[in-house]
């Protein structure tokens, strides 16, 4: 490989990492294949094992007994398990895991986005919570399943699917009641946001995921992030469905009335002032009317776990500050 090609690939890879950090779903699985309720769990909460579940990748898995050793291959999965009071059962996480604080101490089985399959096997898990859409590579999922490990793939693409996944993990862990309570609470909070913004104007909202080497990344067409902005009472300016990028001229033509700087969560040099200085951006209504807002909650906005509702509320506050004034 020539140095030139290598450099081009490296650039593309870095861009991809940035895009991946946003957890913006970019491809869709057929919703009808998700969470077929083949669970043999009794609805009352005491799950009956062996238990057969269908995950978000359409794979079936059978759990012989209540899982006691869980490996989580994505921070959102860790948060789901912990929210269901199973944090002490987690024996492997990723180096990105930061919430709740106690998981930082757990052994890392994913470093630099690479799943260390040896470490997963050595953790002797009786449940592996993987992520879909190549966040956990399909090859790794196949490899783990071939080794006889029960792998549950979670890939929620909307608020409803997050709550469905929480219910799915609840069923797997025999924590149906805790899951139902959590889902209930989340749905109440989502409904509150929905009713608060129902009659308000929907500003054309551009959520900046990142700007890298001139390429602008935002919510892709049909993505979770786009639907979240919509639920929060905005009209999302969307990028390409797969690459989640948008050309500057398309962005200028879309003329956002509100710009949310999600990337400011990680980089404090990104400010409304720095945005106003970008060539071409000054023509946008949002810049001209001073509606460029720093968002510091990008982690919960883009992590499809229980705290996604925190993200939704943060978005709603940013889009409609008056409606949520304390």
């Amino acid at each position: 490989m020539t140095p030139h090609r290598l450099r081009a690939l490296l650039l593309l890879f870095l861009v991809g990492l940035l895009a991946a950090c946003t957890a913006t779903p970019s491809a869709s699985t057929d919703p009808s294949t998700r969470i077929a309720a083949t669970s043999a769990a009794s609805p009352s909460g005491a799950a009956a094992y062996p238990l057969t579940l269908t995950d978000d990748a359409g794979r079936e898995l059978t759990l012989e007994a209540e899982p006691r050793r869980i490996v989580s291959l994505a921070p959102s999965n860790t948060e789901i398990a912990c929210a269901l009071d199973a944090c002490d059962r987690i024996v492997g996480v990723t180096d990105f895991d930061d919430y709740p604080a106690q998981v930082v101490e757990v052994d890392k089985v994913v470093t630099m986005a690479q799943v260390d399959v040896e470490a997963v096997v050595a953790a002797e898990p009786d449940l592996v919570l993987a992520a879909g859409n190549e966040l956990t590579p399909t090859a790794v999922i196949d490899q783990l399943a071939d080794l006889g490990l029960p792998v549950l793939v979670l890939y929620p693409e909307s608020l409803e699917e997050v709550t469905a996944d929480i219910a799915l993990v609840g069923a797997a862990l025999g924590r149906d009641d805790a899951a139902a309570a959590l889902v209930d609470d989340m749905e109440t909070r989502v409904a509150a946001v929905e009713s608060a913004v129902a009659d308000l104007e929907r500003p054309r909202t551009f959520y900046e995921v990142s700007v890298f080497e001139g390429t602008i990344y935002t919510a892709g067409e049909g993505s979770f992030l786009a639907s979240l902005i919509e639920t929060a009472g905005g009209a999302p300016v969307i990028g390409d469905a797969l690459s989640t990028s948008i050309e500057l001229e398309d962005l200028v033509a879309a003329d956002p009335e509100l710009i949310l700087l999600g990337d400011a969560t990680y980089d404090e040099t990104i400010t409304p002032e720095s945005v106003a200085e970008r060539p071409g951006w000054e023509t946008m209504t949002a810049v001209a009317t001073d509606r460029v807002v720093v968002v510091t909650e990008d982690v919960v906005i883009t992590r499809p776990g229980p705290r996604i509702v925190d993200g939704l509320e943060a978005l709603a506050r940013a889009i409609h500050p008056d409606a949520f004034a304390e």
Binding site: M112, Q114, E118
Partner: protein, 366 residues
Amino acid sequence: MRAGVAPRPLVRGPALTRAALVLGAGGALLLAALVVGIGLGSVSIAPDDVLRVLGHRLLGIGAPSGVSDAVETIVIDLRLPRVLGAMVVGAGLACAGTVFQAILRNPMADPYIIGTAAGASLGATIGIVLPLIVPALAIGAGSAWLGLGVVQLLAFGGGVGTVLIVIAIARSGGRLPSVTLLLTGYAVSSLLAAGVALLMFASGRALAAIFSWLMGSLAAVSWIDLAIAAPVVLGVFVALFARWRSLNLLLLGDGPAAHLGLDVGREKLRLTMLATLATSAAVAISGTIGFVGLVVPHLLRLAVGPDHRLLLPASVLLGAALLVMADLGARLAGGIPVGVVTAVVGAPFFLWLLRRSRRVSAPNSA
């Protein structure tokens, strides 16, 4: 064809001893790499546990007592296929590199030079991205025909198919001129690389998977992969070794080789296809791992001379050993791409050898 032009007859005493020494050293190195490669990994397992598992599972001696299922799985299902996979890939690439450097008489030649890598990359990338664009294909994409993945099959087909196209374009009147072959390979590669870049751009989350494939990785080698790739590489090696005279003759140049009775066009075609088969089989299970196929044959040509009777088997042994060690380094360094390790370890050593030998690295001048 039966012209006695072998530059250094090996059949006589001292040369034979030398060959035995070189190959013996290569074999010992490979054996050492094998032992260390299976013994070490990201999870530390006591050497006697490793031996107990291997003895029990492979030779049927001893009892499995005292070793947990997890340890057994790690040794038998993860490390062993991975180490053997590194051997097969390293051997295949070194073997192919030796052949391409001989038939193209070009010091820059590596196994990928006439389009194999670009074709395999495009195939693999399509295999990775397609299920995302057409969700219906996602089901069963992981385990397709004969237990081989769609990605592996498309990579192998892409590599072989691309070389067939390149040859069809480059061939004229039964001749296969090296320069035309190189330039055609370069042009076709560029075209396919554009396709890969386009797919990468549109790949969303799958970008990481594509990138890791392009950098090469032995993490996902399974026993089934090995069962398919190992016989291909072994068969190609045997077939190439049997053609050592042709390879030696081609070092003299197309003209002289033809004068000495070689059907240069056909022989080059055969050798190219054999090397392409080995390369594609290797790449299909590991992705495009760089450097091994370029450096190992060079290094050995400087060390043992250009006679393919010795060069070819020595390259296979060293290529296999080098990649096993490089992959171990990659594993211990937290899963970094193996191609990074081959380059970091191999390049300085290669440069040192180049300077020390004070010889130009062109194969025909060695």
